[in-house]
């Protein structure tokens, strides 16, 4: 199956599922049916060629699968006939269907470990195998998470409106914890952007635009973020000619439209910070006072101590590293055992010219780093700081 066909198939899968669910089919059963239809298409289309009307093909197969599964279940048969009698959905209904599916898959009753794979499968149209490869997990484990998630959803009262903030949190997670290693063909960051775009098309909430912008404005830097050895390159050392300018332009457009609603939120604020970084022609030209202002707003909006820590870096740039360190002290009271706090402290000491202290703290931070990429980067910073100490004393 070619990439174009796969994309088409996955869009169709979501639409078929949305239509089935909206017309009263049981979510868990319909999701299974669509997944089976998807597998069948993956198997058959390479031989038969892509059907002229892929969505109609998938709908028919999924309905057959659904009927097969429910044949024994007489009580459901009546509902199934109703489903079959409904006319196809128009574009607006498709948007509503996507929203409905996202609200189901990102139900507040689900933990992220359950909501993430369910969303990727039911809305993203990925197979269990693709999801398991992307997360470096056995297929059976992902299959089990999905079926458990569907059982949880079946027990919920679904008459309340969904919670957009929970959907955004799940999409953010998919984006932020995007493993790129392994033989997986699935790029989770791309998947997250794709899903957020779908939500953006069907939901006018400014924070949806904020999250989409945040993703685009970060994803635009993906080729500059790691060097040829897989080492992380910090923002101030990135080759800005590798940044994806059209993607930045789109991110800025989406963000500007979101901010125009004048209902700011944490994603808009984070996206604004990203936009200011992306807008600087060089690290020296970064508009730190504006970034600091957005971090002030982010802290006000969320009360999140992690935002305070990010703010401390900006304080260091605007008011000097010693002021930055005082901000870290304040953040530390609420983040006593947070691994990345050491890295920020080390960075500020290095900015203050105290390389001996920086070397010590970078080494400590490397020990506590939650990822190999960060660990390796911090080890390198520690080595650079040590070298600076040696040079100064010789």
């Amino acid at each position: 199956v070619t990439q174009a066909t796969e994309d088409l198939l996955r869009d169709a899968a979501r639409q078929v599922l949305g239509a089935l669910v909206r017309r009263g089919a049981d979510f868990a059963a319909a999701e299974d049916a669509v997944q089976e239809a998807l597998l069948e298409a993956n198997l058959r289309w390479p031989q038969t060629g892509t059907p002229a009307q892929p969505t109609a093909w998938l709908t028919t197969v999924a309905r057959h699968k659904l009927v097969d599964a429910q044949r024994a279940d007489a009580a459901r048969r009546q509902r199934e006939r109703l489903v079959a009698a409904e006319p196809p959905a128009g574009p607006t209904e498709q948007g509503d269907d996507t929203l409905l599916l996202l609200f189901l898959c990102c139900h507040p009753a689900l933990s992220p470990t359950a909501a993430v794979p369910l969303t990727l499968r039911a809305v993203g149209g990925l197979t269990t195998r693709q999801i398991s490869a992307a997360y470096l997990l056995p297929e059976a484990t992902i299959a089990q998470r999905i079926s458990r998630a569907k059982r949880v959803i079946a027990e919920q009262e679904l008459n309340r409106p969904g919670d957009v903030s929970v959907v955004l949190r799940v999409l953010y997670l998919i984006f932020n914890e995007a493993y790129t290693a392994g033989a997986s063909r699935v790029d989770l960051a791309v998947e997250a952007i794709r899903l957020t775009r779908l939500l953006y098309e069907s939901c006018p909430e400014p924070e949806v635009g904020g999250l989409l912008a945040l993703m685009l404005l970060h994803h635009a830097r993906r080729f500059a973020r790691v060097d040829e050895n897989g080492m992380l390159v910090p923002l101030d050392e990135q080759d800005r000619s590798k940044w994806d300018r059209p993607m930045i332009a789109e991110g800025v457009r989406v963000l500007t439209a979101a901010l125009a609603h004048d209902r700011h939120g944490e994603y808009q604020a984070q996206a604004a910070v990203a936009a200011l970084h992306d807008d600087a022609a060089s690290a020296e030209e970064t508009d730190w006072p504006q970034i600091l202002a957005w971090y002030d707003e982010l802290v006000d909006l969320t009360g999140n101590p992690l935002a305070e820590l990010s703010r401390a870096v900006a304080v260091g740039e605007v008011a000097g590293p010693l002021a930055g360190l005082r901000s870290v002290d304040a953040a530390q009271q609420r983040l006593p055992d947070y691994p990345r706090l050491l890295a920020v402290r080390a960075h500020l000491h290095s900015r203050a010219g105290d390389n001996a202290r920086a070397a010590e703290l970078f080494a400590l931070a490397a020990r506590r780093a939650p990822s190999t990429a960060e660990r390796d980067h911090l080890l390198k910073r520690a080595a650079q700081a040590r070298l600076a100490v040696t040079r100064a004393s010789s």
Binding site: P112, T113, V116, L137, E177, A178, N304, L306, P370
Partner: protein, 148 residues
């Protein structure tokens, strides 16, 4: 990732933990006799427990891998240019440090990882009683967050 601003702690949503089973190792010896001295039924019960634990973790959607390692092995290192690898055959006297096997799990929180480790440690030994084996719990390093 930022799981939520409420907890103020940043943990990946899907962290993996390695639960290492050290043969009688740990902060203090668990003090059970070696398996070679157990009765056949005690051994069967112990093995069944390991299998059941694997199944339980698969059903809960937390299983990644489980392996047992042979106590026989070798220490190997680079022998230098144009030289064969240096090999020292095991088993080694310091069996306290021997890794008998592991469970690799993918769970929601550190707390849950500790819960699973405690369960693994409750495996039955002589007389069907829990062996109270020490389990070393090590988080695996993850991918870096995408959001800088």
């Amino acid at each position: 990732m930022r799981r939520s601003g409420r907890t103020g702690r940043e943990e990946p949503a899907m962290p993996k933990y390695l639960l290492l089973k050290h043969y009688n190792g740990g902060p203090e010896p668990a003090g059970f006799p070696p398996m070679s001295e157990w009765t056949p039924d005690e051994i069967t019960a112990h093995i069944k427990f390991q299998q059941d634990t694997g199944r339980m973790l698969t059903e809960s959607g937390e299983f990644v891998d489980a392996q047992a390692a042979s106590p026989d092995g070798a220490w190997v290192r680079y022998g230098g240019p144009d030289s064969a690898p240096v090999v020292i055959d095991g088993p080694f006297p310091e069996t306290k440090e021997l890794i008998a096997g592991w469970f690799l799990i993918d769970v929601e929180s550190e707390r849950r990882a500790y819960e699973v480790a405690a369960h693994v440690s409750s495996a039955p030994g002589p007389g069907g009683k829990p062996i109270y084996e020490w389990i070393e719990v090590r988080p695996l390093l993850t991918a870096p967050p995408t959001v800088e």
